[in-house]
Amino acid sequence: MELITRGAVITEPGNAVENKTGSWRVFKPVINYEKCIRCMICWQYCPEPSILKLEDEKTKKDTPAPKEALKKLPVVQIDYDYCKGCGICANECPVKAIDFVMEER
Protein backbone atom coordinates (compact mmCIF):
# COMPACT_ATOMS: atom_id res chain seq x y z
CA MET A 1 0.00 0.00 0.00
CA GLU A 2 1.20 3.54 -0.77
CA LEU A 3 2.03 5.77 2.18
CA ILE A 4 -0.99 7.96 1.43
CA THR A 5 -4.09 6.58 -0.27
CA ARG A 6 -6.96 8.62 -1.62
CA GLY A 7 -9.62 9.15 1.03
CA ALA A 8 -7.50 7.31 3.63
CA VAL A 9 -8.74 3.94 2.40
CA ILE A 10 -6.89 0.87 3.62
CA THR A 11 -6.60 -1.68 0.85
CA GLU A 12 -4.78 -4.46 2.69
CA PRO A 13 -7.45 -6.36 4.60
CA GLY A 14 -6.44 -7.38 8.11
CA ASN A 15 -3.01 -5.73 7.99
CA ALA A 16 -3.48 -4.87 11.69
CA VAL A 17 -1.53 -8.10 12.20
CA GLU A 18 1.52 -5.86 11.82
CA ASN A 19 0.70 -4.44 15.26
CA LYS A 20 2.12 -6.88 17.76
CA THR A 21 -0.15 -6.20 20.69
CA GLY A 22 1.53 -8.92 22.74
CA SER A 23 3.76 -6.18 24.10
CA TRP A 24 0.80 -4.97 26.20
CA ARG A 25 0.85 -8.16 28.29
CA VAL A 26 1.51 -8.10 32.02
CA PHE A 27 0.19 -11.59 32.79
CA LYS A 28 0.66 -14.47 30.44
CA PRO A 29 -1.63 -17.46 29.86
CA VAL A 30 0.19 -20.78 29.55
CA ILE A 31 -1.68 -23.86 28.39
CA ASN A 32 -1.06 -27.03 30.31
CA TYR A 33 -1.66 -29.61 27.60
CA GLU A 34 -1.65 -32.45 30.11
CA LYS A 35 -4.94 -31.01 31.38
CA CYS A 36 -6.41 -29.45 28.22
CA ILE A 37 -9.49 -31.30 27.00
CA ARG A 38 -9.51 -29.36 23.69
CA CYS A 39 -13.02 -27.99 24.25
CA MET A 40 -12.17 -24.77 22.31
CA ILE A 41 -13.84 -22.48 24.84
CA CYS A 42 -10.67 -20.37 25.18
CA TRP A 43 -10.49 -20.10 21.38
CA GLN A 44 -14.15 -19.16 21.32
CA TYR A 45 -13.77 -16.31 23.79
CA CYS A 46 -10.39 -14.84 22.89
CA PRO A 47 -11.11 -11.22 21.94
CA GLU A 48 -7.98 -10.57 19.87
CA PRO A 49 -8.25 -13.34 18.50
CA SER A 50 -4.86 -14.70 19.55
CA ILE A 51 -5.65 -18.33 20.22
CA LEU A 52 -5.02 -20.49 17.21
CA LYS A 53 -6.90 -23.65 16.38
CA LEU A 54 -4.43 -26.15 14.90
CA GLU A 55 -5.98 -28.96 12.94
CA ASP A 56 -3.12 -30.80 11.29
CA GLU A 57 -2.85 -34.46 12.20
CA LYS A 58 0.76 -34.24 13.42
CA THR A 59 0.09 -31.46 15.93
CA LYS A 60 -3.08 -33.19 17.10
CA LYS A 61 -1.16 -36.43 17.68
CA ASP A 62 2.10 -34.98 19.04
CA THR A 63 0.54 -32.58 21.55
CA PRO A 64 0.07 -34.17 24.97
CA ALA A 65 -3.49 -34.74 26.18
CA PRO A 66 -5.06 -36.08 29.38
CA LYS A 67 -6.73 -38.85 27.35
CA GLU A 68 -5.55 -40.49 24.15
CA ALA A 69 -9.03 -40.19 22.58
CA LEU A 70 -8.80 -36.36 22.79
CA LYS A 71 -5.93 -36.43 20.28
CA LYS A 72 -8.52 -36.58 17.49
CA LEU A 73 -9.51 -33.01 18.33
CA PRO A 74 -7.87 -29.77 17.23
CA VAL A 75 -5.23 -28.21 19.46
CA VAL A 76 -5.30 -24.69 20.82
CA GLN A 77 -2.14 -22.61 20.85
CA ILE A 78 -1.63 -19.10 22.14
CA ASP A 79 -0.19 -16.60 19.71
CA TYR A 80 1.90 -14.46 22.03
CA ASP A 81 2.45 -11.91 19.26
CA TYR A 82 -1.05 -10.63 19.92
CA CYS A 83 -2.17 -11.96 23.32
CA LYS A 84 -2.76 -8.93 25.58
CA GLY A 85 -3.03 -11.13 28.65
CA CYS A 86 -6.65 -10.39 29.54
CA GLY A 87 -7.01 -13.83 31.13
CA ILE A 88 -10.50 -14.58 29.81
CA CYS A 89 -9.16 -17.92 28.52
CA ALA A 90 -7.81 -18.89 31.95
CA ASN A 91 -11.00 -17.77 33.66
CA GLU A 92 -13.32 -19.62 31.27
CA CYS A 93 -11.32 -22.84 31.02
CA PRO A 94 -13.59 -25.55 32.50
CA VAL A 95 -10.68 -27.77 33.61
CA LYS A 96 -8.30 -25.02 34.76
CA ALA A 97 -5.75 -26.03 32.15
CA ILE A 98 -4.50 -22.47 31.59
CA ASP A 99 -2.09 -20.97 34.09
CA PHE A 100 -1.94 -17.23 34.31
CA VAL A 101 1.58 -16.18 35.20
CA MET A 102 3.52 -12.92 35.44
CA GLU A 103 5.13 -12.01 32.13
CA GLU A 104 8.92 -12.04 32.26
CA ARG A 105 10.80 -9.79 29.83
Binding site: P13, V17, N19, R25, C46, P47, D79, Y82, K84, I88
Partner: protein
Protein backbone atom coordinates in the same frame (compact mmCIF):
# COMPACT_ATOMS: atom_id res chain seq x y z
CA UNK B 1 -20.62 -22.74 3.85
CA UNK B 2 -19.22 -22.78 7.36
CA UNK B 3 -16.62 -20.13 8.06
CA UNK B 4 -16.22 -20.75 11.78
CA UNK B 5 -12.54 -21.58 11.36
CA UNK B 6 -11.80 -18.40 9.41
CA UNK B 7 -11.00 -15.09 11.02
CA UNK B 8 -12.49 -12.04 9.30
CA UNK B 9 -11.41 -9.85 12.20
CA UNK B 10 -7.64 -9.73 12.57
CA UNK B 11 -5.64 -9.41 15.77
CA UNK B 12 -3.43 -6.39 16.26
CA UNK B 13 -6.34 -4.07 17.07
CA UNK B 14 -6.26 -1.63 19.97
CA UNK B 15 -9.34 -2.70 21.91
CA UNK B 16 -8.63 -3.01 25.65
CA UNK B 17 -7.54 -6.38 26.96
CA UNK B 18 -10.69 -8.23 27.95
CA UNK B 19 -13.10 -6.16 25.85
CA UNK B 20 -16.16 -8.17 24.85
CA UNK B 21 -16.87 -6.29 21.59
CA UNK B 22 -14.30 -8.18 19.48
CA UNK B 23 -15.74 -11.50 20.66
CA UNK B 24 -19.14 -10.41 19.41
CA UNK B 25 -17.76 -9.07 16.13
CA UNK B 26 -15.50 -12.00 15.27
CA UNK B 27 -18.33 -14.49 15.69
CA UNK B 28 -20.92 -12.50 13.79
CA UNK B 29 -18.45 -12.22 10.90
CA UNK B 30 -17.74 -15.96 11.02
CA UNK B 31 -21.46 -16.69 10.78
CA UNK B 32 -21.98 -14.10 8.05
CA UNK B 33 -18.99 -15.15 5.95
CA UNK B 34 -17.01 -13.19 3.36
CA UNK B 35 -20.00 -11.97 1.35
CA UNK B 36 -20.54 -9.18 3.85
CA UNK B 37 -20.17 -5.42 4.15
CA UNK B 38 -19.89 -3.73 7.55
CA UNK B 39 -20.91 -0.18 8.47
CA UNK B 40 -19.53 0.95 11.81
CA UNK B 41 -20.58 3.88 13.98
CA UNK B 42 -17.87 5.98 15.59
CA UNK B 43 -16.84 4.40 18.87
CA UNK B 44 -14.20 2.20 20.44
CA UNK B 45 -14.69 -0.56 17.88
CA UNK B 46 -14.20 1.84 14.97
CA UNK B 47 -11.32 3.84 16.44
CA UNK B 48 -9.36 0.89 17.73
CA UNK B 49 -9.61 -1.30 14.64
CA UNK B 50 -8.86 1.10 11.76
CA UNK B 51 -5.96 3.36 12.71
CA UNK B 52 -4.60 4.28 9.28
CA UNK B 53 -2.77 2.57 7.62
CA UNK B 54 -3.84 -0.60 9.40
CA UNK B 55 -7.16 -2.38 9.70
CA UNK B 56 -8.44 -5.42 11.54
CA UNK B 57 -11.20 -5.92 9.00
CA UNK B 58 -11.04 -8.58 6.30
CA UNK B 59 -14.48 -7.76 4.95
CA UNK B 60 -15.37 -4.43 3.28
CA UNK B 61 -15.94 -1.89 6.02
CA UNK B 62 -17.12 1.70 6.17
CA UNK B 63 -17.25 4.30 8.90
CA UNK B 64 -18.92 7.65 8.30
CA UNK B 65 -19.72 9.23 11.67
CA UNK B 66 -21.15 8.61 15.13
CA UNK B 67 -24.89 8.94 14.61
CA UNK B 68 -25.35 7.55 11.13
CA UNK B 69 -24.21 3.93 10.84
CA UNK B 70 -27.80 2.94 10.10
CA UNK B 71 -28.08 5.62 7.40
CA UNK B 72 -24.74 4.69 5.83
CA UNK B 73 -25.82 1.03 5.87
CA UNK B 74 -29.12 2.08 4.22
CA UNK B 75 -27.11 3.66 1.40
CA UNK B 76 -24.87 0.62 1.02
CA UNK B 77 -27.97 -1.55 0.87
CA UNK B 78 -29.76 0.65 -1.66
CA UNK B 79 -26.68 0.64 -3.89
CA UNK B 80 -26.42 -3.12 -3.56
CA UNK B 81 -30.03 -3.41 -4.71
CA UNK B 82 -29.31 -1.00 -7.57
CA UNK B 83 -26.45 -3.28 -8.62
CA UNK B 84 -28.77 -6.30 -8.43
CA UNK B 85 -26.51 -8.01 -5.91
CA UNK B 86 -27.25 -9.75 -2.63
CA UNK B 87 -25.04 -9.82 0.42
CA UNK B 88 -25.05 -9.43 4.19
CA UNK B 89 -24.98 -5.81 5.29
CA UNK B 90 -24.21 -5.48 8.97
CA UNK B 91 -24.07 -2.30 11.02
CA UNK B 92 -22.24 -2.22 14.34
CA UNK B 93 -22.88 0.53 16.85
CA UNK B 94 -22.29 0.99 20.54
CA UNK B 95 -25.07 2.16 22.84
CA UNK B 96 -24.28 5.85 22.27
CA UNK B 97 -24.35 5.47 18.48
CA UNK B 98 -27.50 3.37 18.67
CA UNK B 99 -29.90 4.29 21.48
CA UNK B 100 -28.95 7.98 21.73
CA UNK B 101 -27.28 10.00 18.98
CA UNK B 102 -27.91 7.38 16.29
CA UNK B 103 -31.46 6.60 17.36
CA UNK B 104 -33.15 8.60 14.61
CA UNK B 105 -31.10 7.08 11.82
CA UNK B 106 -31.76 3.60 13.22
CA UNK B 107 -35.49 4.26 13.51
CA UNK B 108 -35.53 5.45 9.90
CA UNK B 109 -33.57 2.46 8.65
CA UNK B 110 -35.91 0.01 10.39
CA UNK B 111 -39.07 1.82 9.29
CA UNK B 112 -37.88 1.82 5.68
CA UNK B 113 -37.13 -1.88 5.95
CA UNK B 114 -33.59 -1.95 4.59
CA UNK B 115 -32.14 -5.45 4.43
CA UNK B 116 -29.55 -4.75 7.13
CA UNK B 117 -28.61 -6.48 10.36
CA UNK B 118 -28.00 -3.79 12.96
CA UNK B 119 -25.96 -5.00 15.93
CA UNK B 120 -25.88 -2.95 19.10
CA UNK B 121 -22.92 -3.90 21.28
CA UNK B 122 -24.17 -2.45 24.52
CA UNK B 123 -21.53 -1.60 27.09
CA UNK B 124 -23.95 0.74 28.83
CA UNK B 125 -22.07 4.05 28.63
CA UNK B 126 -20.05 6.26 26.28
CA UNK B 127 -16.85 4.30 26.74
CA UNK B 128 -14.87 5.77 23.84
CA UNK B 129 -14.95 9.23 25.39
CA UNK B 130 -14.29 7.86 28.85
CA UNK B 131 -17.33 6.32 30.57
CA UNK B 132 -20.07 8.93 30.35
CA UNK B 133 -23.66 7.91 31.02
CA UNK B 134 -25.84 7.02 28.04
CA UNK B 135 -29.53 6.26 27.60
CA UNK B 136 -28.48 2.65 27.97
CA UNK B 137 -26.69 3.04 31.30
CA UNK B 138 -28.66 1.17 33.98
CA UNK B 139 -30.07 2.72 37.13
CA UNK B 140 -27.50 2.98 39.86
CA UNK B 141 -24.40 2.84 37.69
CA UNK B 142 -21.51 5.18 38.37
CA UNK B 143 -20.17 6.91 35.27
CA UNK B 144 -18.07 10.07 34.88
CA UNK B 145 -21.28 12.03 34.23
CA UNK B 146 -23.44 10.21 36.77
CA UNK B 147 -21.05 10.54 39.63
CA UNK B 148 -21.65 9.24 43.11
CA UNK B 149 -21.30 11.57 46.06
CA UNK B 150 -22.94 12.69 49.25
CA UNK B 151 -25.76 14.44 47.42
CA UNK B 152 -26.27 11.57 44.98
CA UNK B 153 -25.33 8.20 46.48
CA UNK B 154 -26.92 6.30 43.57
CA UNK B 155 -25.24 7.41 40.35
CA UNK B 156 -27.55 7.25 37.33
CA UNK B 157 -31.07 8.00 38.46
CA UNK B 158 -32.97 6.86 35.37
CA UNK B 159 -33.48 3.33 34.06
CA UNK B 160 -32.06 1.93 30.83
CA UNK B 161 -33.92 2.67 27.60
CA UNK B 162 -35.75 -0.49 26.43
CA UNK B 163 -34.23 -0.26 22.97
CA UNK B 164 -35.17 -3.75 21.78
CA UNK B 165 -38.82 -3.18 22.63
CA UNK B 166 -38.68 0.20 20.89
CA UNK B 167 -37.19 -1.24 17.73
CA UNK B 168 -39.59 -4.19 17.85
CA UNK B 169 -42.43 -1.67 18.00
CA UNK B 170 -41.33 -0.55 14.50
CA UNK B 171 -42.62 -3.97 13.31
CA UNK B 172 -39.08 -5.05 12.56
CA UNK B 173 -39.09 -8.61 11.23
CA UNK B 174 -36.59 -9.78 13.83
CA UNK B 175 -35.38 -8.29 17.10
CA UNK B 176 -33.45 -10.19 19.74
CA UNK B 177 -31.32 -9.69 22.80
CA UNK B 178 -28.23 -11.83 23.00
CA UNK B 179 -25.26 -12.59 25.20
CA UNK B 180 -22.00 -14.06 23.91
CA UNK B 181 -21.67 -15.86 27.24
CA UNK B 182 -24.79 -17.83 26.29
CA UNK B 183 -23.04 -18.92 23.14
CA UNK B 184 -25.50 -21.29 21.46
CA UNK B 185 -28.38 -18.87 21.97
CA UNK B 186 -26.22 -16.05 20.56
CA UNK B 187 -25.31 -18.16 17.53
CA UNK B 188 -28.89 -19.17 16.81
CA UNK B 189 -30.04 -15.57 16.92
CA UNK B 190 -27.30 -14.23 14.66
CA UNK B 191 -28.00 -16.96 12.12
CA UNK B 192 -31.73 -16.40 12.32
CA UNK B 193 -31.24 -12.67 11.87
CA UNK B 194 -28.94 -13.18 8.87
CA UNK B 195 -31.55 -15.43 7.27
CA UNK B 196 -34.42 -12.99 7.80
CA UNK B 197 -34.98 -10.44 5.03
CA UNK B 198 -35.45 -6.81 6.06
CA UNK B 199 -34.21 -4.74 8.99
CA UNK B 200 -33.03 -6.89 11.88
CA UNK B 201 -31.85 -5.69 15.28
CA UNK B 202 -29.65 -7.55 17.72
CA UNK B 203 -29.05 -6.10 21.15
CA UNK B 204 -25.91 -7.77 22.47
CA UNK B 205 -24.57 -7.18 25.95
CA UNK B 206 -20.88 -6.24 25.81
CA UNK B 207 -18.91 -5.88 29.00
CA UNK B 208 -16.38 -3.05 29.19
CA UNK B 209 -13.63 -3.92 31.62
CA UNK B 210 -12.57 -0.27 31.85
CA UNK B 211 -15.99 1.27 32.37
CA UNK B 212 -17.61 -1.48 34.37
CA UNK B 213 -14.51 -1.56 36.53
CA UNK B 214 -13.81 -5.26 36.67
CA UNK B 215 -10.87 -7.57 36.18
CA UNK B 216 -10.42 -8.18 32.41
CA UNK B 217 -10.50 -11.94 32.92
CA UNK B 218 -14.07 -11.69 34.30
CA UNK B 219 -15.64 -10.32 31.09
CA UNK B 220 -17.50 -13.45 30.03
CA UNK B 221 -18.26 -14.46 33.60
CA UNK B 222 -19.92 -11.12 34.35
CA UNK B 223 -21.94 -11.16 31.12
CA UNK B 224 -23.12 -14.65 32.06
CA UNK B 225 -24.17 -13.32 35.47
CA UNK B 226 -26.14 -10.54 33.76
CA UNK B 227 -28.41 -13.19 32.29
CA UNK B 228 -28.30 -15.66 35.18
CA UNK B 229 -29.47 -12.96 37.58
CA UNK B 230 -32.25 -12.02 35.16
CA UNK B 231 -30.90 -8.50 34.66
CA UNK B 232 -30.25 -9.01 30.95
CA UNK B 233 -32.99 -11.34 29.74
CA UNK B 234 -32.63 -13.11 26.41
CA UNK B 235 -35.64 -12.95 24.13
CA UNK B 236 -36.71 -12.50 20.56
CA UNK B 237 -39.59 -10.62 18.97
CA UNK B 238 -40.74 -11.23 15.41
CA UNK B 239 -42.66 -8.79 13.21
CA UNK B 240 -43.27 -6.41 16.08
CA UNK B 241 -45.39 -8.94 17.94
CA UNK B 242 -44.33 -7.92 21.44
CA UNK B 243 -47.37 -9.72 22.91
CA UNK B 244 -45.90 -12.97 21.67
CA UNK B 245 -42.25 -12.31 22.45
CA UNK B 246 -40.26 -15.44 23.15
CA UNK B 247 -37.85 -15.67 26.06
CA UNK B 248 -35.16 -18.05 24.83
CA UNK B 249 -33.28 -18.69 28.05
CA UNK B 250 -34.30 -18.85 31.67
CA UNK B 251 -31.89 -19.75 34.46
CA UNK B 252 -32.92 -22.89 36.33
CA UNK B 253 -32.40 -20.89 39.49
CA UNK B 254 -31.97 -17.12 39.33
CA UNK B 255 -28.86 -15.81 41.04
CA UNK B 256 -29.31 -12.80 43.30
CA UNK B 257 -28.50 -9.49 41.56
CA UNK B 258 -25.85 -8.84 44.16
CA UNK B 259 -23.65 -11.44 42.46
CA UNK B 260 -23.72 -9.35 39.27
CA UNK B 261 -23.09 -6.08 41.13
CA UNK B 262 -20.26 -7.27 43.35
CA UNK B 263 -17.44 -7.74 40.85
CA UNK B 264 -18.15 -4.39 39.12
CA UNK B 265 -16.68 -1.18 40.44
CA UNK B 266 -19.44 0.85 38.77
CA UNK B 267 -21.96 -0.63 41.24
CA UNK B 268 -19.74 -0.79 44.33
CA UNK B 269 -21.50 2.14 46.05
CA UNK B 270 -24.87 0.40 45.78
CA UNK B 271 -23.72 -2.42 47.99
CA UNK B 272 -23.36 -0.01 50.90
CA UNK B 273 -27.11 0.35 51.09
CA UNK B 274 -29.27 -2.81 51.09
CA UNK B 275 -32.22 -0.70 49.91
CA UNK B 276 -30.51 -0.11 46.56
CA UNK B 277 -29.76 -3.76 46.03
CA UNK B 278 -33.33 -4.56 47.04
CA UNK B 279 -34.70 -2.04 44.54
CA UNK B 280 -32.68 -3.59 41.73
CA UNK B 281 -33.78 -7.09 42.74
CA UNK B 282 -37.39 -5.93 42.79
CA UNK B 283 -37.02 -4.40 39.32
CA UNK B 284 -35.69 -7.68 37.99
CA UNK B 285 -38.40 -9.71 39.74
CA UNK B 286 -41.06 -7.37 38.38
CA UNK B 287 -39.77 -7.82 34.82
CA UNK B 288 -39.88 -11.58 35.12
CA UNK B 289 -43.31 -11.50 36.81
CA UNK B 290 -44.59 -9.53 33.85
CA UNK B 291 -42.84 -11.33 30.99
CA UNK B 292 -41.63 -14.65 32.42
CA UNK B 293 -44.52 -16.62 30.93
CA UNK B 294 -43.02 -15.92 27.51
CA UNK B 295 -40.31 -18.47 28.19
CA UNK B 296 -40.65 -21.22 25.61
CA UNK B 297 -37.59 -23.42 25.52
Amino acid sequence: MNYENEEFFAPGHGMCAGCAAPIIVKWILKWAGPNTIVANATGCLEVATTAYPRTSWRVPWIHVAFENAAAAASGVEAATRAKGEKLNIIAFGGDGGTVDIGFQALSGMVERGHDVLYVLYDNEAYMNTGIQRSGSTPWGAWTTTSKVGSANPIGKLRPKKPISMIIAAHNAPYVATANPAMFQDFKKKVQKALNTPGAKFLHVISSCTTGWRHDPSKTVEIMRLATDTGIFPLYEIENGDIENMRITYKPKKFKPVEEYLKPQGRFRHLLKNPEYVKKLQEDVDAWWAKYGHHYHP
